[in-house]
Symmetry: C2
């Protein structure tokens, strides 16, 4: 486990939300779980560019932050399902708005992002 050497800033609301959403794949993880992709392997298939390892780590963080819940079925092969907590649900409108914004300005965004490599 990595130990932070610099404490996070928790001064304002933006700091706080940043702390739980900051992570390369977290927005999409939350979104896909919200869409009903519950099992780790499904999520990995939805986000093939992420390594399996980081997805696990970020799922653990989301769980520690009480945004998602994990249900482990004691079967073999193992079965695990994630779902949004009530708390996690409250983020959905925001994530949805973010996705919509990105979709709305897709072309422009692609352009400015690629322009600066």
């Amino acid at each position: 486990m990595y130990e932070r050497k610099i404490l996070p800033n928790l001064n304002c609301g933006l700091d706080l939300i940043g702390e739980v959403l900051y992570g390369k794949w977290k927005l999409r993880l939350l979104w896909f779980i919200h869409e009903g992709y519950k099992r780790p392997s499904e999520l990995q298939r939805k986000i093939p560019d992420a390594s399996r390892r980081v997805l696990n780590i970020q799922l653990n963080e989301l769980e520690a932050h009480e945004l998602v819940e994990k249900k482990i079925y004691p079967v073999v092969p193992p079965k695990v399902e994630y779902s949004l907590t009530e708390f996690g649900q409250t983020l959905i409108p925001i994530i949805s708005a973010m996705g919509n914004w990105g979709d709305e300005y897709e072309e422009r965004l692609r352009e400015v992002i690629l322009k600066q490599l």
Copy 2:
């Protein structure tokens, strides 16, 4: 300048918005500029935990992504003012919603964030 070795994912709206908002201080930079703190030194005072260097770097990125505009006054000592572009303005409702969410759940967030160090 750092050269990416891994290309960013630009598959969906969430990827795209992530690409322009991902950066430790960007949300707050945009927010403070929106609130009228325009000069680099003002922004640095508003965000004292960030090093001056990164703020410059992230401001440059926001500018490259056309979210903010930079006006340089040819005077001595130098004077620079940032402002949101029209495009940048369109993000304000989202950033505002994010800040509100963080404020609303401030206590709970502080708790879960600190619990896992």
